[in-house]
Symmetry: C2
Subunit: 441 residues, 2 copies
């Protein structure tokens, strides 16, 4: 256990702009130890904030109300890999990449692939219902989980789901806990569904003269029947970040780029490639082509989030999603709002899911700029909700999106969620204050 403020410091923040040190950090190794900590905190009404590796971007693992940080990083064993049944049982502290490395030799992968995969934990992936570029074909964390062991806010150990690919006995507590951001229970073990590695992978790129034409192409790609295994969009400001880092890599006249991956058998890839290239052909296309070596491009794409942090450490980082057919309206609308409010912004993301990372680059020491950015953000959210979208496709609510939740979820439905929270965590000790709008908001 850490109680020295210097030691606690590293557990006071995540990859958001939020910071609040816990009074102590504990590192349980067993279910019993987790239960003991939870019961103690429950008894003394002390906030307890479960934490994977603190890579979230919404403040979900920040000990906002102080209390104890419950780091699951030492519960990091892969308990079993069962290739015959395509399952693995892991403790929550196993890193996403460690899992991938362990199952790849057996011919499998676990689809959630956030850009933090090398250093984020599977427990955190489940708590946030993480996704990533491959979600467009393979789905998100909730689609790749069969069962959980978890400790509720009352210190009870529950066992959810089953060890079979079908099962309908009792309520689906598994998916209730997945994505609940540590507010209902502490995940201490997970039975994961594994997916066979694709036989082969192919790449495409498509360059556009402007964002709107690119958005139309995205909608056209998703409206035909070959589902890409990744469909990533980068706007001109995102491309400029790459241009600055890798001069000469990208043509100057391109204002929007699609990076497309297809997988399957060679014939399937060939057929998908042909169909997708055809869908790419909208007005505004510069060139769409097979990408033979996409490694450097994907590396550049993966480096975008850290690059953004370098140039604007206090950027406002959003994660909205809309139905893909509404992407032209979304991206066009964001460009208009950014111009109107004179806010520098960089947009990129998982276009196949309509999931766009909207980054507003602001200087927090400039109150006037911050005010403009906040007004702009407010209108971005109105735009998103007006397009049948959601405020967060994969990052979660945490602290960051809390003020806006009740614009997406109505008061009656939110009350049912609050009642579920009370059922699992009667003393409100588990990650208190997260996920819900503030009372009275």
């Amino acid at each position: 256990m850490f109680t020295d403020p210097v030691d606690c410091y590293a557990y006071s923040y995540d990859n958001s702009r939020n910071f609040r040190p816990p009074i102590a950090v504990v590192f349980p190794l067993t279910a019993e130890e987790v239960q003991a900590v939870v019961r103690l905190c429950n008894e003394h009404k002390v906030p307890l904030v479960p934490r994977g590796r603190g890579t979230g971007t919404a403040g979900g693992s920040v000990p906002e109300q102080g209390g104890v940080a419950l780091s699951l990083e030492r519960m990091n064993r892969i308990l079993s890999i069962d290739p015959d049944n395509r399952m693995a049982i892991v403790e929550p502290g196993v890193l996403n990449q460690e899992l991938q490395d362990a199952i790849r030799p057996q011919g499998f992968f676990w689809p959630p692939d956030p850009s933090s995969a090398p250093y984020c934990s599977v427990g955190g992936n489940l708590a946030t219902c993480a996704a990533g570029p491959h979600a467009v074909k393979y789905g998100v964390a909730r689609d790749h989980i069969l069962g959980l062991k978890a400790v509720t806010g009352s210190g009870d150990l529950i066992k959810t789901g089953c060890y079979t690919t079908k099962g309908v006995v009792g309520y689906d507590l598994t998916r209730l806990i997945v994505g609940s951001e540590g507010t209902l229970a502490v995940i201490i073990e997970a039975t994961l569904k594994l997916t066979p590695l694709p036989r082969a992978v192919g790449g495409l790129t498509a360059q556009y003269r402007d964002t709107t034409s690119c958005a139309h192409a995205i909608a056209a790609i998703m409206a035909q029947s070959f589902v890409p295994s990744a469909l990533e969009f980068l706007d001109n400001n995102a491309l400029n970040l790459i241009r600055n880092r890798h001069p000469g890599m990208l043509p100057e006249d391109m204002r929007a780029l699609l990076m497309i991956e297809v997988d399957g058998s060679e014939q399937e890839i060939a057929e998908a490639r042909a169909a997708i290239l055809k869908a790419c052909e909208v007005d505004g296309l510069i060139e769409a082509k097979e990408a033979h070596d996409t490694k450097s491009l994907w590396a550049a794409r993966k480096a975008l989030s850290p690059l953004l942090r370098d140039i604007a450490p206090k950027k406002i980082n959003e994660d909205v999603a809309v139905p893909v057919s509404r992407l032209p309206e979304l991206l066009g609308g964001i460009e208009k709002l950014a111009t109107q409010y004179q806010v520098a912004n960089v947009n990129f993301g998982h276009a196949g899911n309509g999931n766009i990372h909207v980054n507003l680059l602001v200087n927090p020491d400039n109150p006037e700029e911050m005010q403009r950015a906040e007004k702009c953000l407010d209108e971005v959210f109105s735009l998103v909700l007006g397009l049948d979208g959601t405020l967060s496709g994969e990052h979660g609510v945490g602290m960051a999106k809390r003020p806006f939740v009740d614009r997406e979820i109505d008061a009656v439905t939110l009350d049912f969620m609050r009642n579920i929270k009370r059922t699992f965590d009667p003393a409100n000790i588990l990650n208190p204050g997260k996920l819900f709008p503030a009372v009275g908001h």
Copy 2:
């Protein structure tokens, strides 16, 4: 509204052996009408049993405690089909087949495909988390739903999920309600995720000298990387039912049969067929071969459930699932138990999910036989749970599996489920008594 006992009769049973007439049947057309009925029942503490088309096999829609049957059959509009976003919004009374017929011309299907598809409702499919032969590749109902509108036991209208393929704002109430068998809320609208139709479909059959060798082949097929789109198992007694109906269709020396479907591109089908034929080659194989015309065979497979009803109207119909690698132990164990207790049984089902329909053919007028069958069943469940299996892969708990639920789900976890039930349905009016073991059991 029906109140005449003659009219109510048709709403007093499902496809199980259970029967109990409601005092009234109501046919709401709108959300407001559903809310009005729920509120009235809530106020007067009258049981209210939501009902699709009553095709369930576990008694889930039987008005066991009397009260009002809430038939959703007239809320049967397809509200929208959105091919660009691969979604459809439907009312709960739409038949599964009606939905398939509406989306097929646009190149889509909705994967849940119970054998009752022509006459079961989508609302019922969601309430039971229905599946069918194609679940082995495409998953179950909870994998093909994005959002719901539902009326809780308190008469509140809630709106869950979102109209995007990714979304992590708030708790996942969608999947909490899916599979809850009408005990939490009445589904009045569903946003469904559609799946592109496969490019092509191919068939295989594999004949075995005995069940055990066939079970080993199932495990081998599922351990290689090509996932069949269906993998159906029929034991010798199931084959005999088909033999009686279709003389000459099936060879006499075959004691177990696999019906295998693969889909995808032509090359993918060819590769999958080769890999699966190889996996079929275990000791005990008579012949594995491509099936050029599988229509009559699939028709025979589909007719099995009704055939069984004809020969044993009071059969005990189970729906267990185990990890596929444990199928040899399960099927071997069931054969042993059937011999030991001298109970005629027919086993078949969705072997790729380890999901076997175990049918004990009994005469309810023979108390001694019934006693033997019940002992046998008890041991079958112990066997299943000992093999990390579940009591129900797709039929649900309803009334039928209620006495056994607490052998699968521990008391602590069940209590959390009961608390969720109370949160959604404080007066316990929605399908009361279903899904949970009797209090004190």
